[in-house]
């Protein structure tokens, strides 16, 4: 894993684009400038060539030969020229290397290179008219070809000189925008840093997150700030319910232990008869049994709560129910209840461990049995409803009042406050069932009417 800096990336991208633009600008300027300079060079070349022609025309020669009037024409240094007669014979030339001004095929501007020196060359025809007194003013016409060459490498120096300003300007603006970009990015990230600081200061004890105002008022950061706020709120809720479970559990456990202790102390308050001691020991044992039950139920609940993954094994719902209900038959009979399964569609498979299904079904059945009058019936059924397998446990007992119905899945909730009643239990049975149902990817609901019975329905996805 390598670190990626968004700022570095953005800076590089922006500066790269700016550099490309600056380069394009500089190249365009150079190209344009070069065209202009070349044009100017051509104009100058034409001018000098014309003045050479002028010097040729003005040259007075007693023999009427074509010559160059040296007084009228002084070539620029490094310029080369040649004047030819129509036969191609050289009439007059400059002093230097004449290869650049060799006679070409036609009149034109052309480029020529001598060694490392480039030349711009103009060849043109001209007419030397010699007015002679003897011919009564009719001139003698002597055609000539003038080839003139100027060094064109200076044009590049001039182009560079002219465009250097633009190039430096581009580079300057490039560096300024780089600095501005870095400073701006730092400044823009201030709300993000503030948000990060606020997030890192979330305390596990309070799980309270107050996003900084700068983050909330920044459009791009608001979703992150809101997500953090909501996540901490969810975590707070989860921790709060965990904390409540621990505190309620501690209260239940300490109370149960207090019962055992106080029973022993009451027994030891004075000397008693053998029978009284025997009864007392019986009571201690009963009280102790309740501590054991409570501990085992809390551990069961904690185990299912702690399961991070769903169940990995499948179970045939009908087979499982048949077996579990068979095991509970004796218990139901002892309480005078007819326990039976009905409407069991075979082949319904759900994702759950055998142990979890047993805990679920036996909790529901035992609840139903405990809240049913002797002689009544408890029905267990399993059916498929579309893609859902439903497990239903129904009794015709005392029912649950409407005000308590929403709370029956709460931990340690008992409808009957006097816990010592046989039916009371620890108030964890349905909470355990709910935890199992949720871990099995399903849900659980309860319907009840005071006086006519209760139905608990757990639904699981079929596989």
């Amino acid at each position: 894993m390598t670190d990626h800096s968004l700022i570095r990336r953005a800076t590089i991208v922006v500066l790269g684009i700016e550099l490309v633009c600056a380069l394009a600008l500089a190249l365009t300027a150079i190209w344009h400038e070069r065209l202009a300079r070349l044009h100017a060079l051509d104009v100058a070349l034409k001018g000098r060539s014309d003045s050479l022609i002028g010097a040729v025309q003005d040259a007075e020669d007693p023999q009427d030969n074509v010559t160059v009037n040296a007084e009228e024409f002084s070539p620029m240094p490094d310029d080369e020229y040649a004047v030819y007669n129509p036969d191609g014979k050289t009439v007059s030339t400059s002093q230097g290397d004449l290869s650049a001004v060799a006679l070409g095929q036609q009149d034109e501007f052309r480029n020529y290179r001598v060694g490392r020196r480039p030349y711009r060359v103009l060849q043109q025809h001209a007419m030397r008219i010699i007015d002679r007194f003897e011919t009564k003013g009719v001139g003698l016409r002597r055609p000539v070809i003038v080839v003139y060459a100027v060094r064109s490498d200076r044009v590049w120096h001039e182009v560079m000189g002219a465009t250097r300003f633009y190039v430096f300007l581009s580079l300057g603006s490039l560096s300024i925008s780089a600095v501005v970009l870095i400073v701006l990015a730092r400044r823009l990230l201030l709300p993000l840093n503030a948000l990060a600081r606020a997030a890192s200061s979330i305390q596990p004890s309070t799980l309270q997150f107050d996003p900084p105002v700068s983050a909330i008022t920044t459009t791009e950061l608001r979703p992150l700030a809101e997500a953090l706020t909501q996540t901490t709120a969810r975590l707070r809720g989860a921790f709060e319910s965990q904390r409540r479970f621990i505190s309620d559990g501690a209260h239940e456990l300490k109370t149960a232990v207090a019962v055992v202790r106080s029973t022993i102390q009451v027994l030891g308050m004075r000397t008693r008869s053998e029978d009284e001691y025997r009864d007392g020991l019986e009571r201690v044992l009963n009280d102790h049994q309740r501590v054991e039950d409570l501990v085992s139920r809390m551990l069961t609940l904690a185990r299912f709560d702690e399961m991070t993954t769903a169940f990995e094994c499948d179970i045939d719902l009908c087979e499982g129910i048949g077996e579990i209900v068979g095991n509970l038959a004796a218990y139901a009979e002892a309480n005078g209840i007819r326990l039976s399964t009905k409407d069991c569609s075979p082949g319904l498979k759900i994702r759950m461990s055998r142990e979890a299904l047993e805990t679920l079904v036996s909790n529901l059945v035992m609840n139903a049995v405990q809240h049913s009058p002797r002689g009544s019936e408890v029905l267990v059924s399993a059916q498929a409803e579309g893609q859902t397998a439903t497990l239903e446990v129904r009794d015709f007992g005392e029912g649950i009042s409407q005000e308590n119905l929403p709370r029956v899945f709460e931990r340690f909730f008992r409808e009957d406050p006097s816990r010592s009643r046989q039916t009371g239990g620890a108030g964890l049975g349905l909470a355990i069932c709910k935890s199992i149902a949720e871990k099995g990817g399903g849900s659980i609901e309860i319907h009840s009417r005071k006086g006519s019975g209760t139905t608990v329905i757990a639904g699981f996805p079929c596989i």
């Binding site: 501690a250 109370t255 029973t263 009451v266 010592s420």
Partner: protein, 229 residues
């Protein structure tokens, strides 16, 4: 002395009640939820309230708060499962007089109950003294001029209640209310019989009548010289 035990754990409430009855001989009523506890407190002037916190219907701390805002000054001993400092502070600020953390020692509960009742009556020392009569609540011994007097448990409780309120007229009704719990059949002639036995025993030992019978109004504990005035 009459005590209300508010505890939803039936077995624990039973054991506390047994200990308070068998030990100091208090009359004990029980209540397993906050709502009933408030009603009971309105009906009877208890000498002590033993209050669990995790109660159905109305939470223990709410019960305490309601009682105090209604002006009830009965000493309250809170039973709690939490031993956090903060919740302890909250409890004491709400008006609890003492608290015990579960699981607790019954002997300690009884001793603290006695101390709370004594303090509730404005008495600081554990011995009640009146006109040569010394009553020790803890050991349940009464001495008149240094000699121990044999009293029945009910006689002792009547004398104890009178000695907590010396020189004050105590009606039969008040005596009944503080000496017997709801389970008891209220018969004022039972009190009369016990009081007359007590008067007789004290007269023999002290050679003066200190339990005065205010006809139609009740009883008053007073010394001989003051009666003469």
């Amino acid at each position: 002395m009459r005590v209300l035990v508010v505890e939803d754990e039936l077995r624990l409430a039973e054991n506390i009640a047994t200990a308070l009855r068998d030990g100091p001989g208090f009359a004990v009523d029980r209540s397993d939820n906050g709502e009933d506890a408030l009603l009971a407190c309105e009906a009877v002037d208890y000498d002590l309230l033993i209050l669990d916190l995790m109660l159905p219907k109305i939470h223990g701390s709410k019960v305490l708060q309601l009682l105090r805002t209604r002006g009830c000054a009965t000493p309250v001993l809170v039973l709690t499962a939490v031993s956090e400092v903060k919740s302890t502070i909250d409890l004491l600020n709400l008006g609890a007089d003492d608290y015990m953390t579960k699981p607790f020692d019954l002997g300690e509960l009884v001793a603290r109950s006695r101390a709370l009742i004594r303090r509730g009556k404005g008495v600081k020392q554990p011995l009640l003294i009146f006109a040569g009569l010394v009553l020790d609540s803890a050991s349940q011994i009464v001495k008149a001029n240094g000699h121990e007097i044999e009293l029945s448990p009910t006689e002792f409780r009547i004398l104890e209640y009178l000695m907590y309120h010396p020189k004050k007229v105590i009606s039969k009704r008040e005596l009944l209310e503080h000496l017997y719990d709801f389970a008891w059949e209220h018969h004022s002639n039972v009190i009369e019989a016990h009081v007359s036995n007590l008067r007789r025993k004290l007269r023999v030992s002290l050679e003066q009548t200190i339990v005065e019978n205010m006809r139609g109004r009740g009883y008053r504990l007073s010394a001989q010289d003051e009666v003469a005035l």
